[in-house]
């Protein structure tokens, strides 16, 4: 037997080895060198404590995120990153030092890949703000604070939008929905800069208050949205828990419905409605309990299930548009009219999963089945969008199957080892009596 030198597995590689092999090594190294030089200059200057304090403050605020209610988040620290270049604050030192601090913390806590990622995410927007103010100064050396900070805000937001466009689809920030967050942070930056320039640092704390309030509102709204979506998700599982349909069906169908809606370029609202209706499209089945001796012996028709589901939703005060979609998806409540495109998406997604289920190998069969019914049971546009979505995202079915599998795996009971936190809760807001 010959002795063979063991090949290091990824787990066995040293952090330096991992960093050397990482695709972000060059930017990390370059920025680290620049930061080291900048920090050295800062330490040698008499402003070193001020620079260090601002860098710490900026790094801390860059770590705090403002949630965008429809997904993703923006760093709260962008307020400070846009305000600092407009003020006599040595922002050229402070901003790189703060980013280096964030990256260093990430490196220690998660690893060099995460550190490189945070540099690539935070670096361009913050440096764009610096660059914009430098450009304004080059044109108008005596420009007041307000135009300087506005230039910084515009550059920062544009750079951040470009950076987030390059993220994978699942992590991408919905830019239109992020506009209110960007506006809030921009106004906050302008107020902080004007307050600091006009009244000193103490007033900057007062000026930051609206941004903090709005962050609180955004966090709560995002948490409430998540909580609602999860509760609807749980509601969609009820027919599955009762054994009326296969476990994981509503979740898998919801994944397909989301992808089809995206392929059809449906807006945020309709897309969300379609996914919600898909999750709930079998809810009416709970009225027909097979274990109930008084229930009808025969399985109910899909139209009966859909109408029953819509009735349950209406009785509980659920949004009417969702109830309507649930009903229309099975051909009900139409009065002779053709079902809407949104209803067609719900129907196609459900039918596709009826064929594919947990068997990824049945994708072609599922596509063939819905294609054969195009123009008849199924809307041609919805079928074409499903074909487009599965072709554009080859692992769509695998993703859907994995989403459904987590529920079928859980049917043996609660796994107490997985209990981390207690999930989202909605906390009452502080109130003032009229």
């Amino acid at each position: 037997m010959n002795a063979v030198a063991p090949t290091p597995t990824p787990e066995q590689q040293s952090p330096l080895e991992v960093l050397r092999r990482s695709s972000v090594t060059v930017p990390v190294g370059g920025l680290a060198a620049a930061v080291a030089g900048g920090v050295l200059l800062g330490v040698l200057s008499r402003d070193a404590p001020w620079v260090a304090a601002l860098a710490l403050l900026l790094a801390g605020s860059l770590g705090v995120r403002v949630a965008v209610p429809w997904g993703g988040s923006v760093p709260l620290g962008y307020t400070l990153a846009a305000a600092l270049p407009a003020l006599p604050s040595q922002a050229g030192l402070v901003i790189p030092a703060a980013i280096a601090l964030v990256a260093g913390t990430k490196c220690v806590r998660t690893g060099p890949e995460a550190a490189g990622e945070s540099i690539l995410r935070l670096g361009p927007p913050c440096l764009a703000a610096l660059g914009a103010v430098a450009a304004v100064d080059a044109v108008h050396p005596d420009a007041p604070v307000l135009p300087r900070v506005l230039a910084a805000v515009v550059a920062l937001v544009a750079a951040d939008a470009l950076v987030t466009r390059r993220l994978p689809p699942g992590e991408r920030l919905p830019l239109l929905e992020a506009v209110p967050v960007y506006l809030t942070l921009g106004c906050g930056a302008a107020l902080v800069a004007v307050a600091t320039a006009g009244f000193g640092v103490v007033m900057a704390l007062v000026a930051a208050f609206p941004v903090l309030i709005t962050r609180f509102s955004f966090q709560r709204y995002a948490a409430a949205r998540d909580t609602l979506d999860q509760t609807v998700q749980a509601l969609g599982l009820v027919p599955e828990m009762a054994g009326l349909i296969p476990l994981g069906h509503s979740e898998r169908a919801a994944v397909y419905a989301g992808a089809v809606a995206e392929a059809l370029h449906l807006g945020r609202g309709p897309r969300h409605r379609v996914v919600t209706a898909t999750r709930l499209h079998h809810l009416g089945g709970v009225r027909y309990d097979p274990g109930d001796p008084e229930a009808p012996a025969e399985s109910p028709e899909p139209l009966e299930v859909a109408s029953g589901g819509a009735r349950i939703l209406r009785e509980a005060g659920f949004p009417e548009d969702v109830a309507e979609l649930v009903e229309q998806a099975a051909g009900g409540g139409l009065d002779g009219e053709a079902p809407s495109l949104e209803a067609a998406v719900v129907r196609v997604a459900g039918s596709f999963d009826d064929v594919v289920g947990e068997d990824r190998m049945a994708t072609s069969r599922g596509l063939a089945a819905v294609s054969a019914a195009a123009g008849g049971t199924h809307d041609r546009r919805a079928v074409a969008a499903l074909l487009q979505a599965t072709a554009a995202t080859p692992d769509l079915v695998a993703t859907a199957v994995a989403s459904g599998a987590r529920f079928s795996e859980a049917a043996s009971g609660i796994d107490f080892g997985q209990l981390v936190g207690t999930g989202g809760t909605i906390i009452p807001f502080v109130r003032r009596r009229r």
């Binding site: 106004c187 103490v202 709970v286 809760t425 906390i427 502080v430 003032r432």
Partner: protein, 443 residues
Amino acid sequence: MADLRRLEIGAVAIAASVVVALALAPSRPVAWAWVAAFALIVAVAENSSVLLPTATSVSPSFMAVMACIAILDGDGHELLLSAGLVGAASGLYIEHLKARRFGMVADNCAQFLLASVAAAGVFELVPYRDGVAGLAVALVATAAFGVVNVGLVLPNVALRHGEPLPAVWRDMRAALPNYFAFGLLGLFVGLVCVRVGPVAVPLLAIPMAIGRWTFSSFLRTREAHEATIRLFIRLIEAKDPYTAGHTERVARYALYVGEELGLPPDRQEHLRYSALMHDVGKLAVPSRLLNKPGRLTPSEWEIVRSHNEAGLGILSRIDFMRGMAVTASDRCSHFDRATEGAPADLVLEAQIVAVADAFDAMTSTRSYRRALDQDVAFTELRDKSGTQFNPECVDALIRAIERRDERYGAGYEADVHHFAVPPPVAGVGSAGLGNLLDERSTT
């Protein structure tokens, strides 16, 4: 109501006297254009306040009053009368005017006028504006507004709603930090306006408008969430019709216990959801077993148990439902059983819900047994305290019900069902708790 009327008339009379006194002796001219503009802003802000489910509201009008004071301060115009008139516009709430509640409108205008004059008075009396001294003056002016505002609103609300003053104060004091935050912000905006011009207004108005929109959206989402939870409850009760009203009652008793144990508001909120959803596992149990009159066989019981656990396991994969699934599981509710590493908060929650559930099961009529007397239920809970039930939770529930002087059980049931076959006085059945019954309850 006579006291309330006297209070309202008193406040209005004092406010009117102040206005007359200030108007008769104006030392400086009134900046009517500023007053009109800010009064309009204040009235619009008050009418765009966000209404909360608790019949209270949040509005940014106070901020505009303070901004007006900061702008008029030091520009040579009359300050007290101007601030008072601008503040009075906060009382012009359109819904009250539409409902012809003129007494309330006059009272609100009067109390806001007096509060605004108090804040402006601080600025008139103390000349410091810069540095820490200036900040202190701003804080005192804000506090003056708050003291007058709360001082007048507190007795008014207590009389109008028939609540004791301390209870109203407990409710209001949480909002006091808002006075300082919004007051300082308003003064700051005023100062920035003086320095850089009206361009400062949108810098503040935009984030505040976005904050308002976000908060309204949050409230709408919360309502939709409540509707979804109600839907869950309907499904559970449709599965087991004899337990209609049960979940709401269990939630009420659980909150009694949570309050007695001093749980903070966010945990109370989670406890409420957990109590409402404690029977969610029933959705996975065949109806024929849930509604079977009489005792279940061991094999049937095993089916109920395994289906219930499977249902809870499935729901536990959703973040929001995870805590509720644990609370609903039998594995955490028994006081004398190991809890398999579940978080302590959830174990306590499960034990609270177990006590509330048992109390309601005993004090309501089921298909297999009529409701028991409340005292019998208390005795049973005490007997099982320390073994099946957490003693602290049992004591807390009994204490809370006795303190409220409430009565449940035989003769006091809120939801009475009419069964095809009248239930026996005593019996056991599939909804559990058969082991809690003994000879005492059969009389």
